[in-house]
């Protein structure tokens, strides 16, 4: 036991004396949270819009002022003509344009049907859809206000509610994903590198020729990274609560327990990789390519799994982070209890046991 403690202390020395490791450990989660939270937002805000108002009457002015008042659009000074708009689309200054014809206001009352043209840059289809929907809403609302008394004979009004995330906070979706990603990096990549480093430096030779049980080498390597992963986890939780205003709905205890389970899965993977490789570079490459990319692609936090071809969906079933992502999303954001995530937990536990078994089995007691 004393030996194990000395080994773990030594492992912490390694971590705290290596600036690169420290940077990956504590710099990366913070940077990722801030990047995903602010820079890589999928929400649509501050869209550049050009307005070509040929009518210049009360009605067109009112619509324009509504466009201006929200935080969605930012009017780039009023355009003069059609060609001007095209030029700005090409330069990327604007993502959409709205054009009012001559006599817009009077057409509404005289002919009962005025037209307004909305043009959107669909080179980014998602943004284009969102933008046209926004404008559509603004115009529809305005139209209803124009004649509040005139009601259609039969009307269906959809009352919509966006559950679990009423304010449409984009941070919600990716936080569980980032947590999974960080665990992959810390528990899998850093752990495998830490073991392989001993091989590369030749210290493994001395450790093997000692009374220290070879298996203990693995345990001693795993424990510090388990602790460090949990510290990272707490950092991410604090950042998301206080910086991104993402509340934790479910039981904190359950979230921690599930996270430890996932960390053990990642650690086993890291140890397995370290058994199979002899250089730090290979270990790093395998963990990055083999573990991190699937985590990004197949957990569903970046790209919806449902839209993927069947084969990719099948692949996603063997990615541990997919289950962890589902669990954390459920517990943290929806406030679900264990009863709702036991299936994923069971799969994850099975994976952890299997991987740990293979890793321990493969540990070489000789060179």
């Amino acid at each position: 036991m004393k030996q194990l403690l000395a080994f773990i202390r030594k492992e912490f020395y390694h971590v705290f004396r290596d600036r690169r490791t420290l940077l990956i450990l504590f710099g990366m989660p913070i940077v990722q949270i801030i990047l995903f939270g602010f820079a890589l937002s999928s929400e649509v805000k501050n869209i550049g819009i050009a307005v070509l108002d040929n009518a210049r009457d009360v009605q067109s002015e009112q619509i324009i002022s509504r466009i201006q008042s929200g935080s969605y659009f930012q009017i780039k000074d009023a355009a003069l003509n059609y060609r001007d708009i095209e030029q700005r689309f090409k330069q990327g200054e604007i993502k959409c344009a709205i054009l009012f014809p001559l006599n817009f206001g009077s057409d509404i009352y005289k002919t009962g049907g005025a037209q307004v043209q909305v043009i959107a840059d669909a080179s980014d289809p998602n943004t284009a859809t969102v933008v046209t929907n926004y404008l559509n809403n603004i115009i529809n609302n305005y139209q209803q206000e124009l004649n509040p008394t005139a009601k259609l004979a039969y009307q269906i009004i959809p009352e919509m509610r966006q559950l679990y995330n009423e304010e449409q906070n984009g941070s919600l979706n990716f936080i569980p994903g980032v947590i999974a990603l960080i665990f992959m990096i810390v528990s899998t990549a850093l752990t495998s590198v830490a073991v392989v480093r001993e091989k590369e430096l030749g210290t493994m030779e001395i450790l093997l020729v000692s009374p220290f049980k070879p298996i203990m080498v693995l345990i001693a390597k795993a424990v510090p990274y388990l602790v460090l992963s949990l510290i990272d986890f707490i950092i991410i939780l604090l950042l998301s609560v206080f910086l991104l205003n993402v509340g934790v709905r479910g039981s904190l205890l359950l979230i921690f327990a599930e996270s430890i389970l996932f960390i053990i899965t990642c650690l086993s993977l890291g140890l397995l990789i370290s058994n199979l490789t002899t250089s730090q570079q290979t270990a790093m490459l395998i963990s990055m390519m083999g573990m991190m990319l699937p985590t990004i692609f197949f957990t569903g936090f970046m790209f919806p799994l449902e839209n993927m071809p069947k084969i990719f969906q099948w692949i996603s079933y063997i990615i541990p982070s997919k289950y962890y992502y589902a669990i954390i999303k459920g517990v943290m954001l929806k406030g679900l209890g264990f009863g709702y995530v036991w299936k994923e937990t069971l799969i994850l536990a099975g994976m952890a046991t299997g991987l740990l078994f293979v890793a321990l089995k493969n540990f070489k007691i000789r060179l």
Binding site: K2, Q3, A6, F7, K10, Y13, H14, R17, D18, L201, G202, T203, E205, I206, L207, L208, V209, S210, P211, F212, I365, R366, L367
Partner: protein
């Protein structure tokens, strides 16, 4: 009393025979040297004896324990210092020593007597990181770490490679002291001059042992009189001697050329006559006692014939 017994050990890597049917015995308390150039198979032998490698065939025991079956017991009683500096570079001298002491379930204080002489020399640097030590200091620290658990037998793989002359001398003095405490020491080195400091040596080349004996006996068994020759134009002399029918072997050795003649009763005068055929200036010939290196070269030539 036998400490290490090696019987017909063979180890191959692909097509390369690293260790080829090697057998030898090391007595308890002996300072045994494995002498041979790089790639002779010394490290492979060490790894087999320290249970790190499995031999293809043959058996070996350390203190009566089988290197395959009883590997765990052997790991408790041996001290091993690999050829490469293998301590934690980012840990200080003290931290390294404490760590290895704890791993071996002991403390620095418990066995301080054993490492005292060596540790005193690096103590002023005990708070320096191991990676920032000089080559000699590193080796002393590594020796301390290998000794900290009071091993019965010590395996030192090329401990003096890349170490300056003064540190090398100090290192060997320490080995002498350890030997007095009854520790069996097996050491390998590519430096022939260090061989004379061992009780017995095995000359090893291409995975095979050419000779095992005391350094004195190995030198005594040199088959013929050995001469050293020198001239102002030493390259011409070497060239001429190589071409001469009466010369058996000749090779450059420091500032001299060492040579043996085909005739068993050759003396300095007859060598002088042969060497002087081309009237080289500054010619000098003398009869000398062979060194381990001469013996090594002689055995190597015999083997290749």
């Amino acid at each position: 009393m036998v400490s290490v017994e090696v019987k017909s050990i063979v180890k191959t890597y692909g097509d390369v025979k690293a260790v080829n049917d090697v057998s030898f015995e090391v007595q308890k308390g002996e300072l045994f040297g494995l002498i041979g150039p790089d790639g002779a198979g010394k490290t492979s032998l060490f790894r087999i004896l320290t249970t790190l490698l499995l031999a293809d065939s043959g058996t070996a025991t350390v203190e009566g324990l089988d290197v395959v079956k009883d590997y765990r017991k052997i790991r408790n009683i041996v001290g091993y210092m690999p050829g490469r500096f293998s301590l934690y570079q980012d840990l200080t001298v003290k931290e390294n020593l404490t760590f290895f002491a704890t791993v071996f379930s002991t403390t620095i204080e418990e066995n301080y007597e054993l490492i005292k002489d060596i540790y005193e020399q690096i103590k002023p640097f005990s708070n320096r990181r191991a990676g920032k030590l000089s080559g000699g200091m590193k080796q002393k620290l590594a020796l301390c770490c290998a000794l900290i658990h009071k091993p019965v037998i010590l395996f030192l793989d090329e401990p003096t490679t890349g170490v300056d002359v003064v540190s090398r001398k100090e290192f060997w003095e320490m080995l002498g002291k350890l030997k007095k405490q009854g520790i069996t020491i097996i050491v390998s080195t590519p430096y022939m001059d260090e061989a004379t400091l061992c009780d017995r040596i095995a000359l090893i080349q291409n995975g095979s042992i050419m000779s095992i004996n005391t350094p004195g006996n190995i030198v005594q068994r040199f088959p013929k009189p050995l001469f050293a020759a020198k001239a102002d134009n030493i390259y011409k002399l070497l060239h001429d001697l190589r071409a001469d029918a009466e010369v058996e072997s000749c090779y450059a050795f420091g500032e001299y050329i060492h040579l043996t003649m085909k005739a068993n009763d050759a003396d300095a005068l007859s060598v002088m006559r042969v060497a002087g055929r081309n009237n080289l200036e500054g010619l000098e010939v003398k009869l000398i006692t062979p060194t381990i290196e001469d013996s090594f070269i002689c055995l190597m030539n015999e083997n290749s014939e």
